[in-house]
Symmetry: C2
């Protein structure tokens, strides 16, 4: 009988390798893994800008964790803030030129890793 835990175990092991590799690349580029997560979500947003509320859901972090992450990223020159023209309490976050360059570099470097992870996952059968 085939071991029923094999696909899930292999999936987790591959996921951890992917996340670890991703961490290494982020450090090499000079950003933290969380900063990459932040920059990527902003880069992928509809009009190139995100609100803290959107990022809370996408990053699965608390409001205060996102706020702190954004402050540090702003301080590092990676993101820009501007108040909403329709609601002054809402802040729109967009990428600075440096932030856009970092996310492009990281996204390109991770391309082969994503492709490999997808190939492995597609080959796994599960319940």
């Amino acid at each position: 009988m085939t071991n029923p835990y094999r696909p899930a175990a292999e999936f987790r092991a591959q996921l951890r390798r992917f996340l670890r590799r991703s961490e290494e690349i982020a450090r090499r580029i000079g950003i933290t893994p969380r900063q990459y997560a932040l920059l990527l979500q902003i880069a992928a947003s509809e009009d190139g800008s995100s609100t803290v509320t959107q990022l809370v859901e996408q990053l699965q972090l608390t409001q205060s964790a996102v706020t702190e992450l954004v402050q540090r990223a702003e301080h590092a020159g990676l993101v820009c803030r501007r108040a909403s023209s329709t609601d002054g309490r809402v802040v729109h976050l967009s990428l600075s030129e440096t932030g856009a360059a970092r996310v492009a570099e990281m996204h390109a470097a991770l391309g082969p890793e994503r492709a490999q992870l997808r190939r492995i996952m597609e080959a796994l059968t599960d319940d």
Copy 2:
């Protein structure tokens, strides 16, 4: 033009949701997410037992982190240790009855989450 960052961003967001959900289920079952990772790798192993060396690679943790994780899991009655019959320095780790029950429960509870993650990932096209 399609936003080139959308697939990677969506993939990360789904991954974080999966890991978060997985954490919630582990806590409900009364184990830590890392204990689940440990139990799952042992459960999936060839003959139902693993060595620390194997777990270091599978869990992407240091030798000392795995050793501590194993000690706590043994203390919690989840895993059993026995010395190798051929090399006394090597320890074989297997699941206790409780450990086997916890991993079965967790694996079953996560089935729909794994299936959803796989469906979403297969629908994403990337470079």
